[in-house]
């Protein structure tokens, strides 16, 4: 997370008048976008580029400090009263302006991706983080760039391509793009237009379920690189896509050259386990990792020497409540099992089912 800039003097004076809720506690009652500290964005347009994806044009409020090509943001969406956060790489070009663009592909059973595909409409307000991550070209642009995209992994690479082409980058920009078929290739029309109008931009498509249609065929393999251009092996490469694609790319690369950068868009979610006591518990803030003994998370933290805050030790007072980042836990009082990432849990009455990561 980027640290917040210090508040301007005028806002601090207003905060003194506003009291414990701050000036934003009042402004956001008028319009959530008026908040001065919390970054939010309003959906201004919704397009369905393919049947399985939605492209949202957003306008961020004044707390937004601009996009860096290839970076990602955490987007918060409220569904039936519960706020869910997901990481998305905006596809829009780098810049300080408030406009940004998100493309979200439906995941089977995906709560947020399906919600946005079905329900996003102009006027909807989303929570937003500042830009995060270290994927993308440095400010001093490399001469030649090779971009490798699989499916919705196109978004950070689209951002990089749009940025460099808008900057009039002199070097070659080559995009290897893998999609099942032309109808499911996100941004196909715009990419074809860019390739037609920018002689430095090469678009090489491979339709994995429609052989013979694109410039390349099949899944990524080392043979696709010479097919692109032998000189590309020297280019700075950026790849984003499903794990299988990234594995194949890593395998084809001479990693010692250090010119390959990959971004995985599927966050590794540990599989829930049937029983307690067989996973690994990670207490992130303390840097402690231990084998789950099956006891409550609070007891295990204490056994590991972490001075965890606690109170009642029976699930009443919420003194030990901490954020679970990933994994599955069971509430010992209600018996409820939850795999929701990023939720507040009471350590004294929670046990782990499989691997779990907690901010403690």
């Amino acid at each position: 997370m980027l640290s917040a800039p210090s508040r301007p003097r005028s806002l601090r004076l207003l905060d003194a008048f506003a009291g414990p809720h701050g000036i934003d506690g009042y402004l956001e009652q008028i319009d959530p976008l008026l908040a001065t500290a919390e970054c939010r964005a309003e959906v201004v347009a919704v397009e369905h580029g393919t049947e399985e994806s939605v492209t949202l044009k957003l306008r961020a409020n004044r707390a937004w400090r601009g996009l860096r090509a290839g970076g990602f943001v955490q987007v918060a969406v409220e569904i039936d009263g519960v706020r869910h956060r997901r990481c998305y790489s905006p596809a829009s070009a780098e810049g300080p302006g408030p406009e940004l663009e998100l493309t979200v592909k439906r995941h089977p059973g995906g709560l947020v991706s399906n919600f946005l595909n079905e329900r996003a409409a102009p006027g909807m307000v989303l929570g937003l983080s500042q830009v995060e991550g270290d994927f993308g070209p440095p400010p001093r642009r490399p001469d030649a760039l090779l971009l490798i995209a699989g499916g919705s992994g196109i978004t950070p690479l689209m951002s990089i391509a749009r940025t460099l082409l808008a900057e009039g980058h002199a070097g070659a920009v080559t995009l290897l793009y893998y999609a099942p078929d032309p109808d499911r290739m996100i941004y196909r029309a715009e990419l074809e237009r860019l390739a037609a109008t920018h002689p430095t931009f090469d678009l090489l498509r491979s339709y994995t379920r429609a052989p013979g249609v694109g410039e390349l065929d099949g899944h990524f393999g080392p043979e696709h690189l010479p097919a692109a251009d032998p000189a590309l092996a020297a280019a700075e490469a950026f790849a984003c896509g499903p794990p299988a694609l990234l594995d194949a790319v890593r395998e084809a690369w001479d990693e010692s050259k250090g010119n390959l950068h990959v971004e995985s868009f599927v966050p590794p979610q540990p599989a829930p386990s049937e029983a307690t006591g067989d996973g690994t518990i990670r207490f992130l803030d303390s840097g402690v990792e231990l084998a789950d003994s099956g006891a409550s998370l609070l007891e295990q933290a204490e056994a590991a020497g972490i001075a965890a805050e606690f109170g009642c030790r029976m699930g009443i007072c919420h003194t030990c409540t901490r954020r679970k980042l990933s994994g599955t836990h069971r509430n010992l009082i209600t018996g409820e099992v939850s795999s929701t990432p990023e939720e507040e849990i009471q350590l004294c009455v929670s046990t782990a089912l499989g691997d779990i990561a907690v901010e403690l």
Binding site: G19, H21, G81, V82, G311, H318, E336
Partner: protein, 367 residues
């Protein structure tokens, strides 16, 4: 959303004769299981209407506060002063009770909204939120009505239980109670400091110094805002907003004191000793919460202004369920109490508060 889920049938074993209001360990366990079942069911049902409710209250409170400040700015005109003081009083009552107290219990943690996170919320009263979470959420709610552990019994200044040994100081009980009511926000703030007990050692002393610094920082900011900044905006008429702000703080203090003292001190509520609660099961904990709490009857608006602490019994059984649910839950709790032969202490405000006042006077004298 209300459901018609039938409660679990009463235990089939014939209970041995017990004094009314008592439970065997087995009965306590089955009572506890019924309470756990209510909690799980309500947790499952939480959704959009619950978050909409608390947000609309926050919106109302912020609106009332803004209106109150503007009206009091023009407080030199009597109607503006009256309306402004009323709006600001209401705003402070909503902020402290239905919003602050309830949000800080973690009642809205399930929303994952940082603005409604129990551990982050701060309120407009002298007591810093983090100190409140310790003295109230943990100390009071875990050790409810255990004499010697629950500092809400008399707040360290009053004699509210026969179990507190009488001292001549307690002759002033009615006077101390009146002062505590008028200055309630400061009484609550100093609550965790245990001023009546000399510090045990150096660590205790420095811990208290830290608490005191936290309170001082908060009181300074509040005082500056209510008694300097806003009055200054009215220039030569500064006395009007100053008096309005002081009145609003006083109204909130008196109201909060009244409601809170009706929660555990009316006639019929029970106290407990550390010994008898030492190895208590969860079912027995539920049982103690029930016996130690009392409800207030009234209309919808009354319950909102009381922060739903008028459902003190349900609040103590389920401190982290959104308070707007207590009314519907109370039907099931009351029904379970009838089946288990447990008392369910409920009455209108005048009767419950009347019995609290009587107790304050009675306990001024040695038992």
């Amino acid at each position: 959303m209300t459901t018609a889920t039938a409660p679990a049938p009463a235990p089939t074993t014939t209970p041995p004769p017990l004094p009314p209001g008592m439970l065997t360990p087995e009965q306590a366990e089955s009572f506890g299981a019924e309470m756990n079942a209510i909690r799980s069911r309500v947790l499952d049902e939480l959704g959009e209407p619950d978050i909409e409710y608390i947000r609309s209250l926050i919106r109302t409170q912020r609106g009332l506060e803004a209106a109150g400040r503007v009206l009091l700015w023009a407080g030199v005109f009597p109607p503006a002063w009256l309306a402004g003081t009323a709006a600001l009083s209401l705003s402070k009552i909503l902020d402290n009770m239905e919003i602050g107290h309830n949000v800080m219990h973690g009642q809205y943690d399930w929303t994952n909204d940082p603005k409604l996170a129990g551990k982050q919320f701060e309120w407009d009263t002298a007591c810093p939120a983090d100190q409140w979470r310790h003295s109230h959420n943990y100390m009071h709610h875990t050790h409810t009505n255990i004499v010697g552990k629950d500092r809400d019994i008399g707040y360290g200044v009053l004699r509210m239980s026969e179990e507190q040994p009488w001292r001549p100081y307690y002759l002033g009980n009615p006077l101390w109670a009146t002062l505590l009511a008028a200055l309630f926000q400061y009484g609550v703030a100093l609550h965790d400091l245990e001023v009546e007990r000399p510090p045990e050692d150096e660590a205790d002393r420095s811990k208290r110094l830290g608490l005191l610094k936290g309170i001082w920082g908060k009181v300074r900011r509040q005082t500056l805002r209510d008694y300097v900044l806003y009055p200054a905006l009215s220039g030569p008429f500064f006395a009007f907003p100053l008096a309005g702000n002081a009145t609003a703080n006083l109204v909130r203090n008196l109201w909060a004191f009244t409601i809170i003292f009706c929660g555990h001190f009316p006639e019929g509520t029970q106290e407990f000793s550390e010994e008898e609660t030492a190895d208590e099961s969860r079912g027995e904990w539920y049982h103690r919460q029930l016996l130690g709490s009392a409800n207030l009857s009234g209309g919808r608006l009354f319950h909102i202004l009381a922060g739903n602490l008028s459902f003190q019994i349900e609040h103590h059984l389920f401190p982290d369920l959104p308070a707007r649910r207590y009314e519907e839950i109370s039907v099931e709790v009351r029904e379970a109490c009838e089946r288990y032969g447990l008392p369910y202490n409920v009455g209108p405000l005048h009767r419950q508060f009347g019995s609290v006042v009587k107790k304050i006077w009675r306990l001024a004298l040695p038992s």
